[in-house]
């Protein structure tokens, strides 16, 4: 029987207000040094407020009919119109009316028509980390010290599809799967990437980078489930936080090297993230360290083949707001740093 460690380290990093205040303050101070004439603007951070990008709504499905979806998040309920163009996912593509009350849903609103659903994902979950233990078709996965260990089950009907991309479902190897949340367990349905050939303790060192780091870096942008993040948080985990500040999300057992040579940033730094597949662009603050994402040296093939490496691990709301499809796991992205 797999034992799930629940005493993971908790922190208030994702207290949205605190992050926003710190981000804005740092931006203001930085501008005061380098661009004193522009300081004192209304929005010194230049970051989107959660309400400015309402394309992603998360919550519990309270009611659903062929034409209307009622979704509740905390105290407020939201009525969303369902049109013929809306699609849904609940382990597999289905009609929006197939979503059931009680499901945890992520709804992407239509780009031009507010209040109209574009896509709905019900009970979607993702586990990305290192396999700690295996018992039959059940895996225990470590996602880093700030998250509880995850139990992943691989049902027989999905096993073939997953094992094609993840041949080594043994302790020490990486896994990244998308599936359905059932209580505290993820029922894996889709491999989110291909498994790296190396075990996690034998990562090859990154290639050396001559000259200056380019202003824009392309690669793969992924998403992660909110663990302690407030719903709707817009931000990104970044793979190369300043080592002096440390990475609270590091996997158990020490600091892992990263693959992409990316410039060091801090929490609160700004990233301009562009979805190369939809040409959507948005500026997000760095909200944490993408400790697990930097273990992967994979490519995203959502639209063409991206360069290797994960450049950002977005919050669910950010990923959806940029037009990402959650069940695909990633989109080809280009990030610009420090503007």
């Amino acid at each position: 029987m797999l034992q799930v460690r629940r005493e993971h380290r908790c922190c208030d990093r994702f207290a949205a207000t605190k992050t926003t205040v710190r981000t804005s303050r740092r931006r203001l101070l930085k501008d005061a040094v380098f661009r004193p004439q522009n300081s004192g603007a209304d929005d010194p951070a230049g970051l989107p407020a959660p309400g400015d990008l309402p394309r992603a709504i998360t919550g519990t499905v309270l009611d659903i009919s062929p034409h209307v979806l009622v979704i509740g998040s905390g105290a407020s309920d939201t009525r969303i119109t369902l049109t013929a163009g809306a699609t849904a996912w609940r382990g597999a593509p289905l009609e929006p009316a197939g979503v059931q009350p009680g499901d945890q849903a992520v709804v992407r609103l239509h780009r031009t028509q507010r209040g109209v659903a574009d896509r709905i994902w019900a009970n979607i979950g993702r586990v990305t980390g290192t396999i700690i233990e295996r018992s039959g078709d059940t895996l225990l996965v470590d996602e880093g010290t700030t998250k509880p260990r995850q139990v992943v089950t691989i049902p027989g009907r999905s096993a073939g599809r997953i094992q094609v991309r993840f041949p080594n479902l043994e302790p020490g190897y990486l896994i990244d799967v998308i599936g359905l949340r059932r209580g505290g367990t993820l029922e894996a349905r889709i491999p989110a990437t291909s498994q790296p050939a190396y075990p996690v303790d034998q990562l090859p060192p990154p290639a050396m980078l001559p000259g200056h780091v380019p202003a824009t870096i392309s690669g793969s942008a992924t998403w992660h489930e909110p663990s302690e993040e407030p719903p709707g948080l817009l931000g990104a985990l970044y793979p190369a936080l300043d080592p002096e500040a440390g990475c609270a999300e590091d996997p158990v057992g020490g600091v892992a090297p990263r693959f992409m040579r990316m410039p060091y940033l801090a929490i609160g730094s700004r990233l301009v993230v562009r979805n190369d597949c939809t040409a959507s662009t948005c500026t997000f603050p760095v909200t944490g360290c993408a400790a697990v994402a930097r273990l992967f040296n994979d490519r995203c093939v959502t639209c063409g083949t991206s360069p290797r490496g994960r450049v950002a691990d977005l919050t669910l709301a950010s990923f959806v707001a940029l037009g990402g499809e959650l069940e695909r796991g990633c989109f080809n992205a280009t990030i610009t740093i420090g503007r």
Partner: protein, 345 residues
């Protein structure tokens, strides 16, 4: 009777083969020492299951070492005849097997390097790598039956031998992708965006700067209230007071260990608006002067009960250039743990 040139070429092979084998073995051992593991999955070991990689890697390394040493031992009269031929045959077979393994590696793991020279052999197996391995195999087999090698006589004979050695080295250099990697490493300088520079060094450089001396009068605390890094700059924020107004002094310090460029700004603590610097700074000594002296006293008398300045950790040099160690364990990443980094967000 073989022509003298052919004999020269044969005689050159043995030291060259030995150097290649011992060099490869040394590079692999260096990698093991650096990574701390034998089963690194680099090169043909990646073809094997995980549990076999370590023994295969050990066997490869041992075989290279033994063949390399035995080639040198049997180059002269010692072990002449069958033992010397057996060593040369074994070396030829070793390179032959390596060639076959590299062909398989290229097919099944096209992105994996050959690992022949440890970390230097990271580029995927190419035609050059295969050709080199095959040539070395042929070279080893060509030395079978070679009589004991004597030192060449100075003059034409030595020159001929040297010429053959240089020519073969050139061929091997052309066939070795590792050479380019080694040259790149020799001239590599990490971009400032990727350079790791301890925060303590930034603070030390800041406190030695003329910018600090100029602004220290308004700074009211030893401890920065915030510090973060972005690209090539580290930003350090100190609380300050200008008249009755609460303010903050922001330093942007370029990430260079010595004499970094520093920019400053004075901002209102509440609104963040930029303030003008006071025209006639007070003539008192600010924290930038007082702290090193205090720390120096604390280091000189560690038994005293006075607590050291909380914000200064790691090594802070006093005005006399003496290193003042931090309280507690002053090494490793934990030493800057209580600096106001963003981990507290």
């Amino acid at each position: 009777m073989l022509p003298p040139l052919v004999t020269d070429v044969q005689e050159v092979q043995i030291p060259l083969l030995s150097a290649m084998l011992l060099g490869g073995c040394a590079a692999k051992l260096t990698r093991v020492l650096r990574v701390g593991s034998m089963d690194a999955g680099l090169g043909p070991t990646a073809l094997f299951p995980m549990h076999l990689r370590r023994p295969v890697a050990i066997a490869m390394c041992a075989a290279e070492f033994i063949c390399g040493v035995m080639l040198l031992v049997t180059i002269g009269r010692f072990g002449r005849g069958e033992p010397a031929n057996a060593v040369r045959l074994a070396t030829g077979l070793l390179f032959l097997i390596a060639t076959c393994a590299l062909i398989e590696l290229r097919t099944s793991h096209p992105e994996t390097g050959c690992g022949c020279f440890g970390d230097f052999s990271r580029s995927p197996v190419s035609g050059r790598t295969l050709t080199r391995s095959a040539l070395l195999s042929l070279a080893a087999l060509a030395t079978i039956g070679l009589p004991p090698v004597h030192l060449p006589r100075p003059g034409a004979e030595a020159g001929q031998l040297l010429g053959a050695a240089v020519l073969e080295l050139l061929v091997l250099a052309v066939l070795s992708p590792e050479l380019g990697e080694a040259l790149v490493r020799l001239g590599y300088s990490e971009p400032c965006e990727l350079r790791r520079l301890p925060a303590v060094r930034t603070l030390t450089a800041l406190r030695r700067s003329s910018q600090w001396r100029r602004r220290a009068a308004v700074i009211t605390a030893d401890v920065p209230v915030d510090m973060w890094r972005e690209l090539c700059w580290r930003y350090v924020v100190f609380p300050a007071r200008v008249g009755e107004r609460e303010a903050e002094v922001v330093f942007a310090v370029y990430l260079r260990p010595h004499r970094p460029a520093i920019h400053t700004a004075l901002v209102d603590a509440a609104s963040g608006g930029v303030l003008a610097w006071p025209t006639a700074p007070a003539r008192r000594r600010g924290p930038g002067w007082a702290v090193p002296a205090r720390l120096a006293r604390a280091a000189a008398a560690p038994a005293r009960s006075r607590r050291p300045a909380a914000g200064l950790v790691g090594a802070v040099r006093t005005g006399a250039g003496r290193k003042v160690p931090p309280p507690g364990n002053g090494s490793g990443p934990g030493r800057a743990a209580h600096l106001p980094f963003s981990r507290d967000l």
